[in-house]
């Protein structure tokens, strides 16, 4: 079994309402000096295979097809 973590983040320049709201909230809670917050997603996957290289190819395909919206998001795959 292979475990992997996919991290999906918004592309630069794409508006991030959640990040903005968190900035505001942190400030209101007294955490000053937070320059910027951007929110993204992680997916922890378990794959029934032992072939790392193959797994990586598969996961990249999953990102392209489903996990990320490549119009607005970037992704990054890490086999753990």
């Amino acid at each position: 079994m292979i475990k992997a973590r996919v991290t999906v983040t918004l592309k630069n320049g794409v508006l991030d309402p959640q990040g903005k709201a968190i900035e505001g909230a942190l400030d209101a809670l007294g955490f000053n000096g937070v320059g910027s917050v951007r929110q993204g997603k992680v997916f922890d996957l378990e794959l029934d295979t032992a072939d790392k290289a193959q797994a990586e190819i598969e996961i990249n395909a999953m990102c392209e097809k489903l996990l990320a919206n490549t119009v607005i998001e970037n992704y990054q795959v890490e086999i753990i």
Binding site: G13, V14, L15, D16, P17, Q18, K20, A21, K65, L66, L67, N69, V71, I72
Partner: protein, 222 residues
């Protein structure tokens, strides 16, 4: 005119939409299910609102990749009219049939209220029943209706008159860029909009400003 409504698990304004199409068009639409690979011969395909697949991952993301959406894309390419409302709009974006993306509302909250819409392009198959620039009432009910497109895309759709509805009179409920509430594709046969015209079509709804949209696209006289 024949219409079809796409059914996907988690959609929940399907009954509202079917009621509107039936009441205004005079006959009920056919329905197609997520696993259907073919869509009957119709003039209009509607993807209603709701929370397909729970809106998990991203709104509309999973739905957009179901077999029925491939069939919808083929029909759209043939020029059949396609309309996505709310979740349906999100699905059309995720399926690449419309440009841009819908992000979480700027307030981060779900919002259900009546807004004002300006008909920014009355020359489409969907809006011919309205006057250019007419301001109508329409309810919204969504969590992710904050339209976003990169600068080039935005310039393009604005330049082409692809923006069909805009929130008017300061009623933008979600932070949408340029107050965009609804857009069509390049060819003008695919419409996506966040507000719910199907919930404002009769006296019981307290108004019928949404009717003209259905009358236009179904080709029935007002």
């Amino acid at each position: 005119m024949k219409s079809a409504v796409v059914l996907l698990p988690g959609l929940n304004r399907d009954r509202d939409m079917i009621a509107a199409l039936t009441k205004i068009g005079g006959k009920p639409p056919v329905t197609v299910w997520q696993t259907d690979t073919e869509i009957p011969d119709v003039d209009l395909i509607v993807i209603p609102g709701g929370f397909s697949y729970g809106d998990y991952l991203r709104c509309g993301a999973i739905a957009a990749r179901m077999p029925v959406m491939r069939a919808v894309a083929e029909k759209a390419a043939q020029g059949v009219k396609v309309m996505g409302v709310c979740n349906g709009f999100q699905i059309l974006l995720e399926a690449g049939l419309l440009p841009g993306a819908l992000m979480r509302n700027a307030s981060l909250k779900f919002v259900c209220r009546e807004v004002k819409l300006e008909v920014a392009n009355a020359a489409t198959a969907f809006t011919s029943g309205y006057q250019q620039g007419q301001v109508i009432r329409c309810p919204v009910a969504h969590h992710d209706g904050n339209y976003f497109a990169d600068t080039d895309t935005l310039a393009r759709i604005e330049g082409n008159g692809q923006v069909v509805f805009r929130y008017a009179d300061g009623t933008n409920p979600n932070g949408s860029i340029n107050d965009i509430a609804g857009i069509v594709n390049d060819a003008g046969n695919v419409l996506g909009l966040m507000p719910h015209p199907e919930n404002l079509i009769e006296a019981a709804h307290g108004g019928s400003d949404g009717r003209a949209l259905f009358e236009s696209v179904l080709g029935v006289a007002a």
